[in-house]
């Protein structure tokens, strides 16, 4: 009875999430607890307990994917480690699932643990994917995230985001005198830490494609400028040696260059420079404000915003600055464009006079669709699966800010809880 109710709840949740996956069939994946050949005490707890925790984490991860709903580990039968690589299909036939996760956790002599996980298609009785990791026992969660990511990819053919990270600006203090720190956390809010300590105002952190560096804007020294820092907080450096104000940085997909804006005597243009510094190359030359550059996934084009036509609109150009043309014609002022990792869509922020919301369009400007309609929703950033977006929502009146996620299918945005109010979220690519 309890089982069916929880199934119903999950089904309802999936309907509310209401993504484009609605058109697809919903795949039920059973995730029983991972067995262990011998229950051994490790630094991360007993291997038997880790097996339960990994199953719970996989369920928790997959539950956020619109087209999948996982069940377990409670209420599912136990099996032996030997069955992990060779499931006895008749034993799993009546659990109402289309796919099965198996695996095991085994302690090694060197103090680490082996985590193996498999995904089986119960209808066609075949293996869909498998993963194996040797990790520190305390890092079992990372193995669980990567298993879940591999399963998500096997089902949806898209990269998973379960081991991805989100950088954002943690804002405390009053609205007129805020204290801003760059924070980074796992996509689900766990493993949270601060990269800067709030001595100076910082904005717009953007992760490198490999997740190892962050480029951001800082008021250090009084003049706002772009900096680059390693993910562990070391090697913090100014990107371009210039007396002019620079901001709005973003890495190229290969991580070798950074596009950014520089304002000189009232004119803001887009420049590109080697990620290790050097002499920047100017890409735009109009007297208007050109800012918020974002690369296409192949690095050949850049989408950006410009008010050269009177209002802020979205433009696309080749990565060398040639072939600039406007693509947004849907009304309102359109800004802060970001290209999706699969190259299919561009997310943007639209101001209509009444509210500010997040929308998506194809790179030609067609198929425009608004996803949110808050008083002020802005600054979208893509998850590696190109299905989810994280953005900043500001409440009218108090000005309180929080991070929310939404799928391109639409539906109600979900709060992404952070320890302090958050702005400027940036979702990393998946570390594979």
């Amino acid at each position: 009875m309890r089982f069916s109710i929880s199934n119903l709840a999950l089904f309802a949740a999936a309907m509310v999430a209401g993504s484009s996956a609605q058109a697809q069939s919903q795949l039920v994946i059973a995730v029983p607890q991972l067995p262990t050949p011998r229950n051994v005490e490790t630094e991360g707890g007993q291997t038997g307990v880790i097996g339960i925790q990994i199953a719970q984490q996989i369920v928790s991860d997959l539950r956020t994917a619109g087209s999948i709903y996982p069940t377990g580990p409670d209420g599912l039968r136990h099996y032996t480690p030997t069955e992990a690589g060779a499931p006895q299909y008749p034993n799993w036939a009546n659990i109402g699932a289309g796919a099965l996760v198996t695996g095991y956790v085994q302690a090694r002599d060197d103090g680490r643990i082996t985590v193996a996980c498999y995904l089986y298609d119960l209808k066609q009785r075949r293996e869909m994917t498998r993963k194996g990791f040797v990790v520190d026992p305390k890092e079992w969660r990372l193995a669980a995230h990567r298993c879940a990511g591999a399963f998500f990819t096997a089902v949806t053919k898209r990269p998973g985001h379960f081991d991805s990270r989100i950088a954002y600006v943690a804002a405390t203090g009053s609205r007129t005198q805020p204290v801003k720190r760059i924070a980074i956390m796992n996509w689900d809010g766990t493993d949270h830490s601060y990269l800067t300590q709030g001595e100076v105002t910082v904005t717009s952190p953007r992760l490198s494609p490999d997740g190892q560096r962050i480029t951001y804007m800082s008021f250090a020294g009084g003049m706002p400028h772009v900096r680059v820092v390693d993910i562990d907080g070391s090697n913090d450096r100014q990107l371009v040696q210039s007396q002019s104000m620079s901001f709005s940085p973003r890495f190229s997909p290969d991580g070798r260059s950074i596009a950014f804006s520089m304002a000189i005597d009232g004119n803001t243009d887009i420049y590109i420079v080697d990620a290790d510094g050097g002499f920047p190359r100017r890409l735009t030359t109009t007297p208007g404000i050109d800012t918020s550059p974002s690369f296409s996934p192949d690095g050949s084009r850049i989408v950006f915003e410009s008010d050269r036509g009177g209002t802020q609109q979205i433009y696309v150009m080749n990565a060398d600055g040639s072939g600039q043309r406007r693509i947004s014609f849907g009304g309102g002022a359109n800004s802060a464009p970001v290209w999706s990792p699969d190259g299919e869509r561009i997310a943007f922020t639209r101001w209509t006079g009444a509210g500010i919301g997040i929308g998506v369009m194809s790179p030609t400007g067609a198929n425009e669709k608004m996803l949110t309609s808050g008083w002020q929703d802005e600054g979208p950033s893509w998850a590696p699966d190109s299905e989810w977006l994280v953005f900043q929502r500001t409440q009218q009146g108090t000005g309180a800010t929080s991070l929310y996620t939404v799928t391109v299918g639409g539906g109600e945005p979900k709060l992404l809880a952070t320890p302090t109010p958050g702005t400027d979220p940036n979702w990393s690519g998946a570390a594979q």
């Binding site: 007129t176 005198q177 104000m245 901001f247 005597d265 009232g266 800004s335 600054g379 108090t398 702005t423």
Partner: protein, 193 residues
């Protein structure tokens, strides 16, 4: 030689009392459109004279009193100086010309309804418009620097559409003058020649 000695003496004098900031210029003369200082405003003196304490709050209050405001405001998305803004800036320019030892940071702001990147660009554009106006009014360029706060420092704590006029602004922020110095192109006062 004598000049170097006087500079040295002036320097030693300021070092001895850190708060005492005499400066070697005649007090600004009231003129058309530039009223006499408010009663109680400390008159600057020459080195060695009994002078006022030229603390930053005093200078700021004087700028506000004589120029009307340290702030000019803009329409939405606009960086055009209104007639009122031009009048304020003309007075600010006169004040800055008569206090050449006081450097100013021209700080541009945009409203929170702008996206973050655009707000930085717009704040810079407004600050540049103000700086250019001040320079055209005779303020030496090296006396001014510009910076944009984007939407990071709103003037109004509340988040409403009605606050954009308060937030869309450029503020002339004075810097605490350091030791007095002589500009070579200006003649020394008679008693120091």
């Amino acid at each position: 030689m004598i000049r170097a000695f006087i500079l040295l003496a002036a320097f030693a004098g300021t070092a001895a009392s850190a708060q005492y900031q005499p400066y070697p210029y005649p007090p600004p003369q009231p003129g058309p459109g530039f009223p006499a200082p408010a009663p109680g405003y400390p008159q600057p003196g020459y080195p060695g004279m009994q002078g006022p304490v030229l603390a930053l709050p005093v200078l700021e209050a004087d700028l506000r009193a004589r120029a009307g405001s340290d702030t000019v405001r803009f329409g939405r998305d606009s960086y055009v100086l209104t007639t009122q803004a031009q009048a304020t800036l003309t007075s600010q320019a006169q004040w800055l010309i008569q206090h050449p030892f006081v450097r100013a940071s021209i700080e541009g702001h945009a409203d929170g309804r702008q996206t973050r990147d655009y707000a930085f660009a717009l704040g810079e554009r407004r600050a540049a418009a103000v700086r250019n106006y001040l320079i055209a009014s005779g303020v030496p360029p090296q006396q001014l620097q510009i910076v944009s706060w984007g939407r990071e420092r709103p003037a109004a704590a509340a988040a409403h559409d009605a606050t954009w006029l308060q937030n869309s602004r450029v503020v002339t922020v004075l810097k605490q003058p350091q030791e007095p110095y002589f500009q070579p192109q200006q003649p020394l006062p008679q008693q120091y020649r």
